[in-house]
Symmetry: C2
Subunit: 225 residues, 2 copies
Amino acid sequence: MTALSTKVEIFYDVISPYSWLAFEVLCRYRSHWDMKLVLRPCYLGGIMKESGNRPPMMVPSKGLYMNKDLIRNANYYQVPLKLMEDPFTVMVERGSLRAQRFLTAIDLYFPEHLEDVSRSLWTRVWSKEEDIVDNESLFLAAKNAKMLDSAIEKCLKLLNEAAVKETLKKTTEEVVEHGAFGAPTIIIHTNSGPEMFFGSDRFPLIAEIMKQTWKGPLPDFKSNL
Amino acid sequence: MTALSTKVEIFYDVISPYSWLAFEVLCRYRSHWDMKLVLRPCYLGGIMKESGNRPPMMVPSKGLYMNKDLIRNANYYQVPLKLMEDPFTVMVERGSLRAQRFLTAIDLYFPEHLEDVSRSLWTRVWSKEEDIVDNESLFLAAKNAKMLDSAIEKCLKLLNEAAVKETLKKTTEEVVEHGAFGAPTIIIHTNSGPEMFFGSDRFPLIAEIMKQTWKGPLPDFKSNL
């Protein structure tokens, strides 16, 4: 990474499975692309509301296809994502507001833990179908990511503080202003301005715009070809 | 292509720009992948109605993004697609029912012309913003694709015949039964059954399932690497 590295922001919510795929790919490419990767937890519910978008599963055949597509992509990207048995309860009823506030607090006070706790929350909700709403769940996710108990307790106490709520709201508004209608939303800050990409399937195009090389989903492994 | 070549069907509508991209990619890969490619003109309006899906441009920020995404992908795939000045009139008011019936008639009686006339219609509507509804427009598209005048006249006369209408309706029902909710819909007939893919961005996964190699959007050009 140099002073002229391209700034790349990924706006994500741990309730979004495609966000997990894109997050892992970008983390892998930190050592391959000349970029400054910035992790931006935001609130998907807010993006959907602001943009007037609705979840793909509202169209039944789209929901069925998405399940297949997720598993295919999880294999392709080598991310241990599994389908949920009860997506409605997890995604709609329980949601991700508390998880994203927790990540926002971590980003504000212990940013060095943001990547690992994000991954830990995804592993809970999208690999083990474990809760990510209750304090105990958030505590365990952060504990697994090697945060100190005192730091975790501090972040849990901050969940309902205005500073945390406002920061999450502002981050969400910021990505909506970039034109977001879902997650992940990836912003590539090129010399001629920000370029917005949606989803986890535009990496060949992102590489092109960054003048970097797309080496497939596993850049650290040598191909057998 | 061998007797054991994988059958690959692309269900498309010339009103769908992403269908054009996928169509060109699959045509290019005919000489690279061991497949029997089958072109299946269907009616996107029917798929949307049957599946309860709605066009992406109904969400304003999604529509704006799609315009950017289309141009990026047109460059990446090297397809001369341009944005329309008046997509509402062209896509919603004028639509593609007559164009798809015309392609259905060609598929039934002059299938050797199906690929070129499809491309010719896409070039009219998605590159030159020319009409694809009036008889004269359909005639010119087919003429450009080197069909004989007598053959074109025959297909134009067949547009309102039950045989053509019914075939298009059945093809559309067939792809909806495969789980389609838009276009392009690509069916890979693997040994263990049909696998459905939506869109023009799943070729690395399609290659994997077919045990073929994805060589990027331009397999006929040698890379500079």
